[in-house]
Amino acid sequence: MFGLNSKDTRLLLIVAALCLFAPFLLNPFPEGSELAQFNAGYPDLMQRFVIFGIFAIGFNILFGLTGYLSFGHAAFLGVGSYSAVWMFKLLGYNVLPGIVLSVIVAGLFSLLIGFISLRRSGIYFSILTLAFAQMSFAMAYSVLTPITNGETGLQVYTDDPQFLMGANSPNVPHLFGLQMNATYKMELGAWLFQFNAGYYLCAIIMLVMFYLAVRIFRSPFGIMLRAVKTNQNRMNFTGLNSRPYTLAAFVISGMYAGLAGGLMASMDPLAGAERMQWTASGEVVLMTILGGAGTLIGPVLGAGFIKYFENIFSKINDSVLHGWFAFLPDGLEDFVVAILHPFVGKGWHLTLGILFMLVVIFLPGGLIEGGQRVARLFRRKKQTPDGKDPEHHPKPAPHVAE
């Protein structure tokens, strides 16, 4: 279907189904129950899942295929956000012009930065992109205050021109009248499911972007990008010029980042410089690596994983921990809570840093590789001679010589 082979089509359909049914899948626990805090099916978070998914899919086209590690992609996301908010200010709250402009501006900006940064490779490239991102951050934060509104962040004011704003246009971001914050709530017994217009717009765009990424991965162009990663020397001696290939990948991934930035502004019409900080660039690197760089679905998983646990971990505080470990004897309970305390709530970044290190050290292929390893393990267990269900095995399967 869509010119993809059956395996890729299946993957695309799975992602589509996940996106469509996300409001159900992410809200498995009844409202008001003890476990409701693990629900993630509310609009704001679901929007973040898919927007960061787009960001990571794009980043993966550069890093996963060519191996060029950019530490400055947040700059393109920020530029996208600023462009979209400017469209809201000038034209009105319809999100379409904003999204289109954010992709174009981010594309041009990444062309400029990529053209300079890609003169070098390896570490030099990483550091150059890092320097550019920090420079963009400083420019957004102070130097270009007239355009970015500096520390305050760019937002829409009532006296902005908004030339295309009709008399009865909604005063919030909308797509031809469909308000982005419109949410249909469905109550089913104790469960509450929310269907948000903004989420579905982002999800549809993510699906299109995912499809495009699959096409890029499977195209001759994609093969060339993988060739760049593997052996530039052979590539050049095959009559191919690797620089335009890397630049094209850089611009494409920059445009993905710009799109994500534009969507972010469309969901919440604000743009601030902090979105461009290099720690934000680090985050998308992390999502891609965690999910599995170079795989199709990995970055999306990584983005969802990080955004989900960021949300959950930040909500856990000491009283929640005490609630969980109440079954332990008092002294032990306090001890366990004290041990866990630094990692939850505001300590989420600590957990994230540790997780990041563990993944890079032990699982360079990310969650995808982890999943494959587990799957292999189970497959091997099932092939044990007596053929019993592995769950009923008292002992682990004997080691087979490899």
């Binding site: 890093f63 530490f71 990483s126 130097v143 690197v285 840093g353 290190m357 360079p364």
Partner: protein, 349 residues
Amino acid sequence: MDAILLQILNGLDKGSAYALIALGLTLIFGTLGVVNFAHGALFMIGAFCAVTLNKILTLSREIVDETRTDFLGNPLKVKVPYVEGWFGPELGAAIIDWSVPLAILFAIPVMIAIGYVMERGLIKHFYKRPHADQILVTFGLAIVLQEVIKYFYGANPIPTGAPDAFRGSFDFGVLLGFDPNVIIYPYWRLVYFVFAAIVIGAVFAFLQFTTFGMVVRAGMADRETVGLLGINIDRRFTIMFGIAAAVAGLAGVMYTPINSPNYHMGMDFLVLSFVVVVVGGMGSLPGAVAAGFLLGVLESFASYSPIKNFFETYLFLPSIDQIIIYLVAIIILLTRPRGLMGRKGVMED
């Protein structure tokens, strides 16, 4: 003339910090072939060594001073640091006053230990992994170190002063024959510059005149050959990592009176230090030092109001000082891709 001199002086302290951090980064690049994104965190930990020592020294017990009373007429409770109890009030107070310089002695073993553990425990396993992996794992480590410090010391900057003797400023211009009050320069900044110069000199002398240094320099030039000679280069590189960590830590210790340390100062300095290393030329120690001072002074000039106003009025770029380093770095890299003093073949795969 005096204005130019003042800007140069103002740039020296930041330049010194850049130079010290970049020196350690380059040492690690050159010897171990590893990009250490956690190097800024080492600078930050150094600063917190000073904070910690200050906290330890001011640990106090409460005693009741019968001779004095508070406003209600009760005997006054005063806090007396233990150090004052042990060494007598005068010496004790002097020790507390000099806590930042004293922290140098405290920081050196701590930083070397941290460097040793980092190299043996983590970095060692990444020599043969791709550079991207090295960047990523040290980036993760930097986040962890930063968050640990944040957990123990909070998010707010912790002011830690210089000794009384070096507080305040003096009229540097008069010494050079300028009019009084033209070049006023804080004592501590001068101390910092002199300190940085001594540390840099010591590192260079160490590499130049000791057998150890000779092996390390040879290793920087050609690691495999030195390894083939039967010299245990890995062990020396571990020590080198410890030294680089100590240099970054010392830069942090002495920087505390200039800028109150906070948990993210490492990240702030790291990015600029990378720029410094790249501008200086990857793997070139003199390049790192020269570029550090150069960019520090440049930043100072860009914040000098006539220049700043010029950029604002004619080029519509207010706050040019915020981005000047990056702009210059980009121009240098476009014209001299290997940096000011870079050699061919270093880190180019």
